[in-house]
C-alpha cells in the first residue's frame, strides 16, 4: 500500500514538473534543461521559509510559485531570448539551457552550503514528512499534489480554449512569425509561458520534500525523467504530462517494487532506467506522445 501511495504522489509531482517542460516546449520549442534546477529552487524556497518563518510548507506554495516563475522568467529573458532573437536553432538553445543549468547547480550548492554553515540547517538532505497533515488516512501531500496538478491542467485548458490569450499561445506554438504578423507580442507571450512553467516547477519543488528526500541536485537528477514525461505525454494537449506522469510514476515506483519482489532487490538501483526505456520506446513507436495518439484516435 505504501508503494501505491508513493507511486500516486510521485506521479502527480512528475506531472507538475513535466507540465512546465511541456508548456515551454509547446509554446517556444525550447528543451529547457535548467527546468530541473527551477524545481530545486522550489524545494529551497520551502526549506528557507519553513526554517525561518515557521508554518507548514503548504503555506509557502504561492511563494514557491512566484519565486520559481521569476527564476524561469529570468532564464528566458537573460539567457534564452537574446540568443533566440539572433535566430539560434533549437539545438543551440538546448545547449544554452545546459550552460544555465550548470551555473544554477553551482549557485544552489553555494546557497545550500550557506544555509548549512551559517544557520546550521540540514540543507543538503531534507524531508518535511513530519510537517505533513493527514486526510482520510493518507498524507496530505497525496491530495495536495493531485489538487495542484488537476487545478493547473484544468485552468490551463480553460485559458487555452476559451480566451484570446490562450488562442495567441496556441498560435505562437504553431507559427511564431505568423503570430507576430497578426499583432501578437511573441516575446511577452513566451515570457508568460516560461513564468507559468516555472511556477508549476516551483509547486512541484515545494511539495517534493513532503514525501521524498531532497538535496541540491534533486531537480538535476530528475531532469531526464521530466523529459521522458514531456515526450511520452506529447505536446498536443496539456493533459499529456498528467497521463505520462501517472504511467511513469507508477512504472518507476510501483513497477520496480513489483519487479524486485519477483527478481530480487538488485533491480531497485536501476529504477531510473524505466523512464529512459519508455522515452526510447515512445520516440520509436509513438513519436507524437500519448496526447497526440489520443487526439489522432478521436480525430
Amino acid at each position: 500500500m505504501a508503494s501505491f501511495i508513493d507511486a500516486l504522489t510521485y506521479s502527480a509531482l512528475l506531472g507538475l514538473m513535466g507540465f512546465g517542460l511541456t508548456l515551454i516546449r509547446r509554446t517556444t520549442g525550447v528543451w529547457n534543461v535548467a527546468h530541473g534546477e527551477v524545481v530545486t529552487i522550489g524545494s529551497y524556497v520551502a526549506l528557507t521559509a519553513t526554517s525561518f518563518l515557521a508554518h507548514s510548507p503548504y503555506f509557502y506554495l504561492p511563494m514557491a510559485f512566484l519565486v520559481c516563475a521569476g527564476a524561469s522568467g529570468i532564464i528566458f529573458l537573460a539567457g534564452v531570448e537574446p540568443i533566440r532573437a539572433k535566430g539560434a536553432s533549437s539545438i543551440l538553445l538546448l545547449v544554452v539551457t545546459i550552460a544555465i543549468s550548470l551555473i544554477m547547480i553551482a549557485v544552489i550548492n553555494i546557497y545550500a552550503d550557506y544555509l548549512q554553515n551559517v544557520f546550521h540547517l540540514s540543507s543538503k538532505n531534507f524531508l518535511f514528512a513530519r510537517l505533513d497533515f493527514t486526510l482520510w488516512g493518507q498524507m496530505g501531500i497525496l491530495w495536495a499534489a493531485w489538487a495542484a496538478l488537476a487545478a493547473l491542467t484544468v485552468s490551463y485548458y480553460l485559458v487555452l480554449q476559451h480566451t484570446r490569450l490562450g488562442l495567441a499561445l496556441r498560435a505562437l506554438a504553431e507559427q511564431p512569425t505568423l503570430a507576430v504578423v497578426m499583432g501578437a507580442n511573441v516575446k511577452s507571450l513566451s515570457l508568460l509561458a516560461w513564468c507559468l512553467a516555472g511556477g508549476a516547477a516551483g509547486l512541484a519543488g515545494c511539495l517534493f520534500p513532503m514525501r521524498f528526500q531532497c538535496h541540491p541536485g534533486v531537480g538535476t537528477s530528475m531532469i531526464a525523467t521530466m523529459f521522458a514525461v514531456s515526450i511520452f505525454g506529447g505536446i498536443e494537449k496539456m493533459y499529456g504530462p498528467l497521463l505520462a506522469g501517472l504511467v511513469l510514476g507508477f512504472a518507476q515506483i510501483y513497477g520496480i517494487d513489483l519487479l524486485s519482489s519477483w527478481v530480487g532487490p538488485g533491480v531497485i538501483p536501476f529504477k531510473d532506467l524505466i523512464p529512459m526505456i519508455v522515452l526510447l520506446l515512445t520516440l520509436q513507436f509513438l513519436p507524437e506522445g500519448l496526447s497526440g495518439f489520443v487526439g489522432r484516435r478521436r480525430g
Partner: protein
C-alpha cells in the same frame, strides 16, 4: 494622391546579408502596386522589411506618414497593415474560425464578431469551412482563408506575397477574382508580389521590377508589357 506607404532609399537584409539596395517605392491610397522580378531578387524581403521581419540597415519605411524603423514587428498590424505571407500563412492546428479570430488579435474583443461578418461577406468561399481545421484544407482553400485572415485586422494596406503560388489555374483564377473584387469594393491599397503576371496586369495600377535587390523599372503595367527586353530577360515573357 497621398501615400499609404512610402519607402525611401531602403537598404535591408538579414544579419550580414545585404538583400535590398536603395529601394524607393510609393503606394498611394486605393492603389494596387505589383512587385515583380525573378526568384531571389528580394521581393519577399521587401515585404518583410515593412513588417520589420528583415533588418533595415538604412533608409525609411513610412506608413501613413509615420516612420516605422523603430516600430516593433507585432505593432505594424495595428498601424493598418495586413500581410498574406507566401508560406506558413495559416495556423494549421487551429480551426478556420480561430484563424480568423487570431487575425483580429489587434482589434478590441467586441469588434471581432462584426469584423468577421464583414470579411466573410467579402471572402464568401471561406464560409463553408469555418469549423474545419486549417491544416486539412486544400491549397486553394487555405489561400482564401489566409486572405480572409489578413483582412481581419481592418487593413489600410494589404501585402500579398504570391497569393496564387502553387495553385491550380482554377484556384489561381478564384484568388485573382477575389483580389480584384476587394480592390473594387473596398478601395484597399495593395502591394502584391506575384509570378503569375497575366493575372496581375488586370488588377494593378503600377509595377516595380526588382532585380538583384534593385528596382530597375517602375511604371504602369502597360509600359512594362511594352518593354519586350525587360519582359523577356527578367520575367521570361515575350
Amino acid at each position: 494622391m497621398n501615400s499609404v506607404l512610402h519607402i525611401k532609399n531602403l537598404n535591408a537584409g538579414y544579419g550580414a546579408i545585404h538583400v535590398l539596395f536603395d529601394i524607393n517605392l510609393d503606394c498611394a491610397r486605393g492603389e494596387a502596386v505589383a512587385i515583380v522580378g525573378p526568384n531571389g531578387s528580394g521581393k519577399t524581403t521587401l515585404l518583410n522589411s515593412i513588417f520589420r521581419l528583415a533588418d533595415i540597415f538604412s533608409g525609411s519605411v513610412i506608413l501613413d506618414g509615420t516612420e516605422m524603423q523603430q516600430e516593433k514587428s507585432h505593432k505594424v498590424t495595428g498601424r493598418g497593415v495586413g500581410y498574406l505571407r507566401q508560406e506558413g500563412n495559416v495556423f494549421p492546428g487551429l480551426s478556420v474560425e480561430e484563424n480568423l479570430k487570431m487575425g483580429a488579435f489587434n482589434l478590441p474583443k467586441g469588434e471581432v464578431g462584426e469584423r468577421m461578418e464583414e470579411v466573410l461577406s467579402l471572402v464568401k468561399p471561406v464560409v463553408p469551412f469555418l469549423r474545419r481545421t486549417a491544416g486539412t484544407l486544400s491549397g486553394g482553400e487555405r489561400e482564401m482563408v489566409a486572405l480572409a485572415v489578413a483582412l481581419m485586422c481592418r487593413p489600410n494596406l494589404l501585402l500579398l506575397d504570391e497569393p496564387t503560388s502553387g495553385l491550380s489555374p482554377i484556384a489561381s483564377a478564384q484568388i485573382a477574382e477575389l483580389i480584384k473584387n476587394l480592390k473594387d469594393k473596398t478601395g484597399l491599397s495593395m502591394l502584391i508580389i506575384e509570378q503569375n503576371l497575366k493575372i496581375l496586369f488586370d488588377v494593378v495600377d503600377k509595377c516595380y521590377l526588382l532585380v538583384s535587390g534593385r528596382i530597375i523599372f517602375s511604371g504602369g503595367p502597360g509600359e512594362l508589357q511594352c518593354d519586350k527586353e525587360l519582359m523577356r530577360t527578367y520575367l521570361g515573357l515575350a
